[in-house]
Symmetry: C2
Subunit: 355 residues, 2 copies
């Protein structure tokens, strides 16, 4: 066991603050990782504040982890000390259900173990995430990172990247396909970059006219102001696929109407208050579908990281110190970040040393 | 032009009654059909009573037509006088959009022409359906019927049959697949028969314990009382596909939860009042989808008719006389029919002769 500096929420109403956690001594299949950077996901905030009602405290969020291997267990085959690696949203799964056997641990039928908030496979207990100086993870859930620099901006690929990459691949974004991305935040800006790199014709939908230029810079072929009925009308029945990254309750019909026959709109955000019920007629008339998607499996996450390295894709980030996490949460709630906060974990190490 | 006895609604509040319509003289590509039987679809009632707000009066419903060819135009290649034929929900479409070119006229991007209520391709005007003694239809929209007997019970295949066959085929109902059918009415009883004949493991969901025996007789391997939470819980995460035939507003989540990873629930009924908004989380956690489907294309309708003839499938029907249509509508509203009314059109011909 090792005493590890971390930042934790002690209860739903408390801000995050310094806390010490125990990390297990690496077992035969484990990889010990010195954490360099950790991205800040909206799920971190939901969990820290118990907004999904299932938080185990103390809660140490963080599941967009990039670091360096410091030690490996004797049976570890694919990693060695000094390697640059990543850890995403999962650190374990049952390993024997149909989804796990298909390499889709994200859909583990017995429930995967989250990088934070558990439940641990062994005892259903808590797990502690990347707002900490190090982590110990079974090598099956460790990703290889081949980006040569800008490693802080690689961190958000581990959640925001795979959450958008997986549905774009699953529903066939690529050359000759018209793909919509709804919302330009942490997820949406990755969706635009990835769909563009896959070769699709990319249309960004945003409510903010001041995001048009940025949408195009990120790779959108067109940017549509979704509140503008005239602009929306020009795209009716024309999309093969729409990736909707907006978690706030909104009118889904406005986007369903833009799908072609057999088109799908995939939702990757779960709204706190339900969306208005979509109009069944809009599904029936063109055999359209509304679907959902949850991160991606380990094999696909590795594929995504390799794809991003090959195409020079990282996240657009703003680096913060660990001690500024509560302020960052407040800014995130106002969408005041382009487009992802990443914690420089050296700041936590320095703080722990000074204490 | 020919004077043709029919039954029509003259306005939303009026019952259907005798009315004479004009049928066009068959053109070079037309097939003239003496109507023997016409099924009674819930859409007939919605249209007669202007419940969708778009009814053209006088309104002559009926789009489950079986009859005998009496004459063909000079360019008609596939039909001759004496053939037994069917006409379903469509009598025309634009013919040049992507959906038409793909043989999916039901999704015609310029809007197909309904067998009743138009809009006619030429002038957007009205069309008159199968509650009449004869009809003239372009051969492209005429179906060949190879059933040797029980032709009255074939009629509902033209709408209830194809409406369930098409999504069952599209989403791959067949051996090794667990398929749910929600609701045992006109559509649902066809869904059970067809999914069973396709080789799927068929589970019927009904709210009525008194439909269990009938569900099994029709081909369901299991019947689940959908109000019984314990019975429902036994099927969580186990379905490849669910065909939901219930148009009344109901809780979709109860069925979404029964789908496997990548499973789809397809809706074929549009509710008058919206369903409660489905829980996005239930879509996301297993990459599930909610979709819709609308009848089927002409090629697929022919395939369905041939499949049914080969497997000895017809609808379970109750035959009525034309003059009893208003009573039949009232009984249909109470689901008091097993499982489809079919009008014996000889009754209309006799009535017209006596008048």
């Amino acid at each position: 066991m090792s005493h590890t500096p971390a930042y934790a929420a002690q209860s739903a109403g408390k801000p995050l603050g310094p806390h010490t956690i125990e990390r297990r001594t690496p077992g035969a299949h484990d990889v010990a990782i010195d954490i360099k950077f950790c991205g800040v996901c909206h799920s971190d905030l939901h969990t820290a504040r118990n907004e999904w009602g299932n938080t185990r405290y103390p809660s140490v969020p963080g599941h967009e982890i990039v670091g360096t291997v410091t030690a490996v267990g004797k049976n570890v085959k694919h990693f060695k000390a000094g390697d640059t690696v990543g850890v995403g949203c999962m650190v374990d799964s049952c390993g024997h259900c149909d989804s796990c056997k298909a390499g889709e641990e994200n859909y583990c039928e017995n429930g995967f173990t989250g990088t934070y908030n558990g439940p641990a496979q062994a005892d259903g207990g808590n797990t502690y995430g990347g707002y900490s100086s190090n982590v110990v993870v079974d090598e099956k859930f460790v990703l290889r990172i081949t980006h040569k620099d800008d490693l802080a901006a690689v961190a958000p690929l581990l959640c925001a990247g795979i959450t958008t990459y997986s549905p774009l691949r699953h529903w066939g974004a690529g050359p000759g396909r018209k793909v919509g991305i709804v919302g330009l935040g942490g997820l949406g800006h990755m969706g635009v970059k990835l769909a563009h790199a896959m070769g699709a014709h990319v249309v960004l939908f945003t409510t903010s006219p001041n995001k048009v230029a940025d949408g195009k810079r990120l790779g959108a072929d067109e940017v549509v102001i979704s509140k503008d009925a005239d602009q929306m009308a020009q795209h009716v029945g024309s999309f093969d696929f729409i990736l909707n990254t907006v978690a706030a309750s909104h009118n889904l019909d406005a986007f369903l109407n833009l799908l072609k026959r057999d088109g799908t709109m995939c939702l990757v955000g779960a709204p706190e208050h339900p969306h208005p019920s979509p109009t069944v007629f809009n599904l029936i008339m063109k055999r359209r579908a509304i679907a959902g998607s949850l991160i991606g499996g380990i094999r696909e996450t590795q594929e995504m990281l390799d794809f991003c390295a090959e195409h020079g894709i990282v996240s657009d980030i703003e680096m913060i110190a660990m001690r500024d996490i509560n302020k960052a949460y407040e800014r995130m709630l106002k969408s005041d970040v382009k487009y992802r906060f990443v914690i420089d974990m050296q700041s936590l190490k320095d703080e722990a040393k000074a204490a």
